[in-house]
């Protein structure tokens, strides 16, 4: 794939990311104002074993992982959802923007430049910040939003029943692929940094 095609592709992805972020932000702001409670799904873990067992040939399985749908968790949760869309959207848009800039520098036939190194490093850090934000988001829901959720909040989970004393723990839906992608970009940025030094040496030899 040539740098030009990659540039077009990244431009299209950037436009899609901007459009999706704007639509999502508008939705999470307008829906609660219109009295429409928002649903949000999360992966959860049951701290105590449930009775939902499947016996097969003497073996049994305890179902400890499932999902939870939260509907209408209050104003603070609605504001946090809007902030979540804003932060996630901003991280993705900034990362794609930086990658597009790097792509244009590569297309200019002088890829080994300090600007390219900076762009790749920044894109790598931004992509690493996405899973970091996912972890923070799970922690905020678990520690702040769930304990203070209003009485009208509806929680629907996939467990047969939660036993007495059992508790649902939110699992941070961290995308390990993004962690790897961010680290790969940082490694590539280091390679470009060395390349930029070699390029400078070459430029200063007559």
């Amino acid at each position: 794939m040539t740098a030009r095609i990659l540039d077009w592709l990244l431009t299209a992805v950037l436009m899609l990311a901007v459009a999706a972020s704007v639509i999502a932000l508008a939705f999470v702001i307008i829906a609660p104002l219109a009295g429409q409670p928002l649903d949000a799904g999360y992966s959860v873990r049951l701290e105590a074993a449930t009775d939902a067992r499947s016996d097969a040939g003497g073996a049994h399985a305890d179902i400890r992982q499932g999902s939870l749908i939260v509907t209408g968790a209050g104003l603070v949760a609605d504001l946090f959802r809007a902030a979540d869309v804003l932060v996630t959207g901003a991280l993705w848009i900034a990362a794609i923007w930086m990658l597009r800039r790097v792509c244009r520098q590569v297309a200019s036939h002088r890829p080994f430049a300090p600007d390219t190194t900076r762009g790749l490093t920044l894109a790598g850090v931004l992509i690493l910040l996405v899973p970091a934000w996912q972890a923070v988001r799970a922690l905020v829901w678990q520690v702040i939003l769930f304990p203070h959720a209003p009485a009208e909040t509806t929680l629907i989970h996939t467990f047969a029943r939660v036993p007495e004393g059992g508790a649902l723990r939110m699992m941070p839906d961290i995308d390990a692929g993004l962690l790897v992608a961010g680290l790969v970009l940082l490694v590539v940025a280091q390679a470009f940094r060395v390349g930029a030094e070699v390029q400078r040496d070459s430029d200063e030899i007559v």
Partner: protein, 70 residues
């Protein structure tokens, strides 16, 4: 110690301008000017050979070592 380039002395002896030398060697006047004023990190063998041919001299005539000032 550092390497110094003494092209200007040889150019004066041969009565050759920077533009003429650049054209004969096949490098840009800007690059030759940078080399003359010691603002480059190095010089390629074929550039050095071109300068020596154009100025009818040996590498030792245009390159010298200078002691650093304390």
């Amino acid at each position: 110690m550092r390497i110094v380039v003494r092209i200007d002395e040889m150019m004066a002896r041969r009565k050759m301008s920077l533009n003429q030398l650049a054209a004969e060697v096949g490098v840009s006047t800007t690059n030759l000017s940078l080399l003359k004023n010691g603002h480059v990190r190095g010089v390629r063998f074929n550039t050095l050979l071109g300068i020596c041919r154009a100025l009818d001299c040996r590498p030792g005539d245009i390159l010298d070592i200078e002691e650093d000032e304390e």
